[in-house]
């Protein structure tokens, strides 16, 4: 039986759950309006979360050694 990880995990790691919650439920974003640059909401919402997910991952990486 493995003991818990030798060093404590950064609490910021929990931020990585956000993209899953934002994208796992299409009921949240499967609609046409409001559109942006001709892209229906369904599409630009996903593209926006692409950028946000990269940003969140960068924050988690930058703060990984903070308690």
């Amino acid at each position: 039986m493995t003991k818990r990880s030798a060093r404590p995990r950064s609490p910021w790691t929990w931020l990585l759950l956000i993209p899953f919650l934002a994208l796992a439920f299409p009921v949240l974003y499967a609609r046409a309006q409001p559109s942006l640059f001709g892209l229906p909401f369904f599409y630009w919402y996903q593209f926006a979360w692409l950028l946000l997910t990269a940003a969140i991952t960068w924050i988690v990486y930058a703060l990984r050694r903070r308690p």
Binding site: A30, G38, L50
Partner: protein
């Protein structure tokens, strides 16, 4: 499909194809190592820094799936095809969490494959064998998808006809791929990936600016696509540009199932383990989504093909047909070469990864335990050839309307290694026999559902008043975990002995930071 060969396009295509072929053979000399050792041939010596890993994994993960299969599904079915975007977004937080752990434990114990890890973790040869076999068979349809990608661009240039002549270009491309993989190992696709990515980025930027401009903007493209879907009458399959409630479960299970499956594939693991440090992977979790942006833009090409009035016999030809309708011959040649190379690079890495599994976890573990390093490397090289022939068989015997179904079939299988590998990175709670039975039940269940659905990756699921269409892989892995959990309790109660665990908790963490002058960091390349 063009009625006669497009000579200019073919000439440009051949020039670029020849360029990467030369690169493939030069690669053997790049960051020279002893290619008769499997670590060197198959993992390029675990020395790749952030930038090389970014190119290699980008070249590895974004394939004909991205260029051909996803836009084909969008062209044919609309919004549901966009599950690929959430898939390639949420895959990276998951990658950030799990893969540095796998890298650390693999580095410390010199594991080359996930089956090596499972052998070390559970001390059971049969479970390791199950992981290796699953990795190999799941890779075959994925390589097959790459071959479909090469096939559609070649036929879109008007080369083809009937009989043996029709397949000749594909076979030539295939032999070239096999030859440089054999001689250069993982260094070949890593070096070619630089060129491939550059070509893909140019193609995509030109396409997503020029085509909407010609077609009158995105609002017009989406309106035209919606009208085309609305005008469909049965027996044509329904479609929509906005996902309908009936598709919610399929969309999210396809996205999440694919995301959790992605880094279980042998070729993803190969790209992961070839990096120099855990932090190289974490940084790549931040920067690899740049490719997902490209994937999303390419997916939109499916709608552009509808708006442009492109009519094709198979949806898989939608993107090449769109390019034929929109661009001059020289650019068509360039773009098609980009697509073909984007299929060859991952096909090379996939065959290397499958070969590593065969050699280490089947040949050496069961057939020739006394094989020397040189024999091991030689068997791996030969196996990389055999695997590609196996992929051809999938194209011949599993004709699916959508190429993406080949990849999704691979996903159904590979996701069944999730409990042993990913859960195994965190806990040893599961009994190895229980994991084996869970795997077996889920493999049979998943494969049968895929066949019963007529080679389709989704199936209706009814539990009481709940009913939805879901990705078979997700259904099967839930059954897998449930069986494994139940049997773990039973086997432990019965006192069935567990195998030894060769790893300890610290093996999974990053090594303690060592203070070194920055100039000696060597393989690390700053971004």
């Amino acid at each position: 499909m063009k009625s006669r060969p497009d000579v200019v396009a073919i000439a440009v295509f051949i020039v670029f194809f020849a360029l990467v072929t030369v690169l493939g053979f030069i690669a053997a000399r790049w960051r020279r190592g002893d290619l008769n050792v499997i670590h060197e041939w198959g993992l390029a010596g675990r020395r790749f820094g952030t930038v090389v890993t970014w190119f290699l994994m980008g070249g590895d993960l974004y394939t004909a799936y991205t260029m051909i299969a996803v836009p084909a599904l969008v062209y044919g079915s609309g919004a549901v095809g966009f599950f690929a975007l959430p898939y390639t977004i949420v895959a990276y937080p998951f990658f950030y969490l799990t893969m540095p752990r796998l890298w650390n434990v693999s580095k410390r114990h010199a594991f080359v494959t996930t089956a090596d890890f499972v052998q070390g973790r559970y001390g059971n040869r049969l479970l390791a064998l199950a992981i290796a076999v699953t990795g190999i068979i799941a890779t075959l349809p994925y390589i097959a998808l790459q071959l479909v990608g090469i096939q559609v661009v070649i036929s879109a240039m008007g080369i083809g006809g009937s009989g043996i002549g029709a397949d000749a270009p594909l076979i030539i491309a295939f032999v070239i791929l096999a030859a440089y993989t054999y001689t250069s190992g993982l260094r070949a696709p890593a070096l070619i990936a630089f060129v491939k990515d550059l070509m893909i980025y140019i193609t995509v930027i030109v396409a997503v600016i020029a085509i909407p401009w010609k077609l009158g903007g995105f609002a017009h493209i989406f309106a035209a696509a919606q009208n085309a879907f609305a005008a469909r009458v049965p027996p044509a399959a329904p479609g929509s540009v906005i996902l309908g409630p009936a598709g919610y479960w399929a969309f999210s299970t396809l996205a999440l199932g694919s995301a959790f499956a992605l880094f279980l594939y042998p070729h993803s693991v190969t790209g992961t383990l070839a990096s120099a440090r855990g932090d190289v992977l974490r940084r790549n979790a931040v920067f690899l989504p740049a490719y997902s942006l490209v994937l999303g833009l390419i997916a939109l090409l499916g709608y552009m093909a509808i708006a442009a009035g492109v009519k094709v016999k198979s949806p898989n030809s939608a993107v090449p047909a769109l390019f034929n309708a929109m661009f001059p011959s020289w650019f068509i040649g360039f773009a098609f070469a980009a697509i073909a190379i984007a299929a060859l690079v991952p096909a090379a890495i996939m065959s290397i990864a499958a070969a590593n599994l065969w050699t280490r976890n089947i040949y050496k573990a069961f057939l020739r335990p006394d094989a020397s390093d040189a024999q091991e490397a030689r068997i791996a090289k030969i196996t990389s050839l055999v695997v590609k022939v196996g992929a051809l068989a999938f194209i011949i015997f599993l004709p699916t309307q959508y190429a993406i179904n080949l990849q999704l079939l691979g996903g159904i299988w590979i996701l069944q290694t999730f409990p042993a590998i990913i859960l195994g990175l965190y806990t040893r709670w599961f009994h190895h026999h229980a994991l084996l039975w869970g795997w077996l039940v889920a493999m049979i269940l998943g494969s049968s559902l895929f066949l019963l659905q007529g080679l389709k990756p989704t199936a209706p699921l009814v539990i009481g008043s709940f009913s939805a269409v879901v990705y078979i892989a997700v259904e099967a892995v839930i059954v897998n975990i449930a069986v494994a959990a139940l049997l773990t309790v039973v086997l432990d109660r019965a006192g069935i002995r567990r195998g030894p665990d060769a790893t300890v908790a610290e093996d999974y963490d990053d090594p303690p930071p060592v203070i070194v002058p920055t100039t000696t960091l060597g393989t690390t390349q700053p971004l």
